[in-house]
């Protein structure tokens, strides 16, 4: 590392992309924050290659690129442009560390791989190609949200188990149980009941999470044919959870856990099965809660229990897809009043029971009322069953609700960044379609000149589109029609990019603050030598903590918005 005091803060690697895609930049930063610069370097290399690469290609690319940077550094030093602006030297990682970094990425499902069998000089060889998934990488800061959700629905034990699995990426059954038990003992949180030990409570919770679809088994990628003999590198097979090895027990495994698993009580849990968290299930569950809240806010006063029933129906759809493995899109979404009763909260269920007609009839009436609501549309009746309300089938118009929410987000961002008039113009174009600027000015009750300024600003920011219609064959601006419109897909893309950029900037700012505040943290830890210094330090440290808290809150808010825009 160089002696330059300012060179310590370095958020990028030699292979980091120029920020043309905010999503990729954000993913790279998240990887660096969680796993360090070597793993980030490998991820950046995979991203830069595009498509899938072999390990040899990755090593080669990194080596070439770092050599180039080294030569550039030497040239700069020779020219002596500035002594201060020394390019920070990044130690060249070895092939083993690159392999280890790749393993980490695979462990956390940020990199996927494919195996193909090829014949080279009459010898069969298995070629592994690795592909980077930036969407998975940017979910790393969202782990606390999943843990929090699990805590609310499954309690402390479930939350601890999910936390362990998320931190490790993927784990064998025995390892997951042991580490969760360790964590619970450290937290000194009691088991759910006096009848069960920690181990039994964790295993019980584990089973429920698997049945609920929140934890899924890691499936092995099948070979094309035969074993080529050579393994890519040590450790890869362990991550895969080979079918044959599921029942095998490691000599280091805790015998108590193994015996519980082998007792037959927990049939779906084999000792060496490899598990990971099913992130999609969490997203679908969070979406169910959000859309339920949305429907409650829009129609709650008009239609009682609207929000609860929508949330219940969406939770059922998530369960069907992830727990039951129903891949049929149509059947996933269909539900009847009986199907969703188990997802209703107790107070809601009791209220429905108390009403005359019973639960089924009251739920049916509520759903019929909701079918009449069109702004936005919430539910459609798909099958009618006269006289048997419990057999009628409905489906939630999830995409319309999500689109409504996304539109609101885009409008809110425009309101916050460009003002009330810009938000109104956007809403008019969204509602009315394509219009000329004078018409927009009239509807918005804004002078024509101001409207044109706002339209051009929104156009520069890519929130709206412009279509020129020439009246004659020759280009003549005075006789041209300028028609403005909004494209939902384009606006959504731009909004997502803005949120990714903002989140990246917040994270970068936070990382910088941590660098700046290192001294205060260290002083705080070591204790002050003089009282005066301590007071000043305390004040600075308090302010530092407040600043960090605000940056963290901002990052959380942005991540929540990004979840709606990208993962719903």
């Amino acid at each position: 590392m160089s002696n330059n005091q300012f060179a310590s803060f370095n958020p990028t690697t030699a292979l980091s992309s120029i920020a043309h895609d905010p999503l990729v930049t954000l993913s790279s930063n998240c990887i660096r924050d969680f796993f360090g610069p070597t793993v980030q370097l490998v991820a950046d290399c995979l991203q830069a290659q595009g498509g899938a690469s072999t390990l040899a290609q990755i090593i080669n690319t990194i080596k070439t690129k770092l050599e180039e940077r080294g030569r550039t550094k030497e040239r700069v030093e020779m020219i002596k442009v500035t002594r201060l602006r020394t390019i920070s030297s990044f130690g060249r990682p070895s092939a083993n560390s690159i392999g280890a970094a790749l393993l980490v990425l695979i462990q956390h499902s940020i990199v996927t791989y494919t195996k193909t069998l090829t014949v080279i000089r009459e010898k069969k060889k298995m070629i592994y190609r690795y592909k980077f998934d930036p969407d998975r990488a940017r979910l790393l800061p969202r782990y606390p949200r999943y843990v929090e959700y699990t805590k609310k629905s499954m309690g402390e034990i479930g939350a601890a188990l999910i936390e362990e699995l998320l931190l490790q990426g993927r784990m064998r059954t025995v390892d997951a149980v042991e580490q969760t038990v360790e964590q619970l003992k450290q937290l000194k949180s009691p088991p759910a009941s006096d009848r069960y030990t920690y181990r039994e409570a964790v295993l019980g919770c584990f089973g429920r999470l698997v049945q609920g679809g929140y934890i899924e088994e890691v499936t092995e990628v099948k070979d094309d044919g035969g074993d080529a003999g050579e393994t890519e590198f040590h450790g890869l097979d362990t991550l895969l959870g080979n079918e044959e090895s599921k029942e095998k027990v490691d000599s280091n495994d805790n015998p108590a856990t193994v015996s519980l698993l082998q007792s037959g009580q927990y049939k779906s849990l084999q000792p060496s099965t490899v598990w990971k968290v099913n992130i999609r299930m969490f997203h679908d569950s969070l979406r169910a809660v959000s859309l339920g809240t949305l429907v409650y806010e829009i129609y709650g006063q008009k239609v009682q229990f609207a929000g609860s029933m929508v949330a219940a129906a969406l939770k059922l759809a998530a369960y069907k897809e992830h727990a039951e493995g129903d891949k049929n899109f149509e059947s996933q979404k269909l539900f009847s009043t009986e199907n969703i009763q188990r997802y209703l909260s107790k107070p809601v269920f009791q209220d429905l029971e108390k009403k005359p007609g019973g639960v089924n009839l009251n739920m049916y009436k509520t759903l019929l009322e909701l079918c009449k609501c069109h702004h936005p549309q919430v539910v459609q009746q798909v099958e009618v069953a006269d006289g048997h309300p419990e057999n009628a089938k409905f489906q939630i118009t999830t995409s319309r609700l999500v689109q409504f929410l996304q539109d609101r987000i885009a409008k809110q961002i425009i309101l916050d960044s460009h003002g009330e008039i810009a938000a109104r113009v956007y809403a008019i174009l969204r509602a009315k379609g394509s219009l000329e600027s004078d018409t927009i000015a009239e509807i918005a009750m804004v002078p024509a000149k101001e409207t044109r300024e706002v339209l051009h600003r929104l156009y520069r920011e890519k929130y709206i589109a412009l279509f020129n219609l020439n009246q004659g064959k020759q280009h003549n601006p005075t006789s041209m029609f300028y028609i403005w419109s909004v494209s939902h897909a384009r606006t959504l893309q731009h909004t997502t990019d803005s949120v990714c950029t903002a989140l990246y900037n917040m994270r970068l700012r936070r990382q910088h603050e941590v660098e700046v505040g290192k001294e205060w943290i260290e002083r705080q830890e070591h204790g002050a030598e003089e009282e005066n210094e301590s007071e000043i330090d305390k004040l600075k440290f308090t302010q530092f903590c407040k600043g960090m808290e605000r940056l963290d809150r901002a990052a959380l808010q942005l991540d929540e918005t990004l979840m709606v825009l990208k993962d719903y």
């Binding site: 370095n10 609101r408 901002a554 709606v564």
Partner: protein, 329 residues
């Protein structure tokens, strides 16, 4: 005279030989008049310039000919030649005094009488003045740009400006400015009210858009919606009525103008459509608050130099800017 052909025309007794092209004064034949219609014999004695003029004015003042009497009707009412002779003089006299205007429609000539008061205004105007006045009159209440007048009348700017001054002094025309082009000078007839396109309508005060007035009206509408009918909803008609009662505006707003206001509030998500009233009109209610899952407000963090700016919070917490040496790999 050499070169001219003599036409031989058989002339009946009592009529003069006329040279072709010469105006002929025809006297009424007393014998024929006496032998013919009794009224004609009576009219012959009473027909005079004054009587023809009076009858002509009376005819044009009739309600059905308020917008002009066709030539056909004039000819029917003034059938005799003597009447027609006097009629020609009457028409000339009235035209000279600006008391008569002529127009053509569907190949027919129309005569319209002008009030004396109005006619007095146009007295003393020469042909150029009248031409400019005519061009401005054609533009109606939309007004016409000085450059357009120059193009249509083909006059130079200097004499045209003199004519403008003269006509302004006579209170025949007035200059106006348009909200869409404040630098342009438009002229229109003095008595006309400029159209909405020029003034901008109720929402403009002078030539400026009255943001404050609109803001007050919007606040008033929101208050109406929240407080009237116990918050159950208010129709546009009820809002308009309330505005009139409270006299929130000096000018009474039309239902379309109230609709414009209400529409902007809907687009701003401040109000929304509710149930229908008994009369089938839409009621408006206060919009429910919807959480958008977008609570972040520091959108200036998207600017390229965000990292090099310090962030200062209200309570004194400061996040220092990055040093310029950072961000190098």
């Amino acid at each position: 005279m050499s070169g001219r052909k003599r036409t031989s025309t058989s002339v009946q007794s009592g009529r003069k030989r006329v040279r072709i092209g010469t105006a002929v004064k025809v006297k009424a034949d007393p014998a024929a008049a006496a032998a013919g219609d009794a009224t004609t014999a009576v009219d012959t004695t009473k027909v005079s310039q004054a009587s023809v003029k009076a009858r002509f004015e009376a005819l044009l003042n009739e309600p059905q000919y308020k917008n002009g009497a066709p030539n056909k009707v004039i000819q029917e009412n003034f059938a005799t030649k003597e009447e027609q002779k006097y009629l020609v003089e009457t028409i000339n006299e009235l035209s000279r005094g600006s008391r008569l205007t002529m127009s053509k429609m569907d190949n027919q000539l129309f005569y319209t009488i002008v009030d004396e008061e109005v006619a007095q205004k146009y007295q003393g105007l020469d042909a150029n003045d009248r031409l400019v006045l005519q061009v401005i009159e054609k533009a109606g209440n939309k007004g016409i740009w000085t450059k357009e007048i120059r193009l249509q009348t083909n006059m130079h700017p200097q004499p045209l400006n003199k004519i403008f001054k003269h006509l302004e002094q006579r209170r025949l025309i007035k200059p106006v400015k348009s909200v869409n082009a404040k630098a342009k000078k438009l002229y229109m007839l003095y008595d006309l009210r400029p159209s909405k396109e020029i003034t901008g309508g109720v929402w403009y005060s002078g030539l400026e858009f009255d943001h404050e007035f609109i803001s007050e009206l919007r606040t008033f509408v929101i208050q109406c919606i929240k407080k009237l009918n116990d918050g159950k909803g208010v129709t546009m008609t009820e809002i308009k009525l309330k505005m009139k009662q409270v006299k929130v505006s000096k000018v009474e707003l039309t239902i379309e103008e109230v609709q414009q206001l209400v529409q902007t509030l809907v687009y701003d998500n401040l109000i929304e459509e509710g149930p229908l009233s008994n009369s089938g009109e839409v009621r408006f209610i206060a919009a429910r608050r919807i959480s958008t899952m977008c609570d972040f407000k520091w959108w200036d963090c998207l600017s390229p130099d965000f990292h090099f700016r310090p962030i200062r919070f209200e309570d004194g917490v400061i996040l220092a800017a990055h040093e310029l040496h950072h961000h190098t790999a």
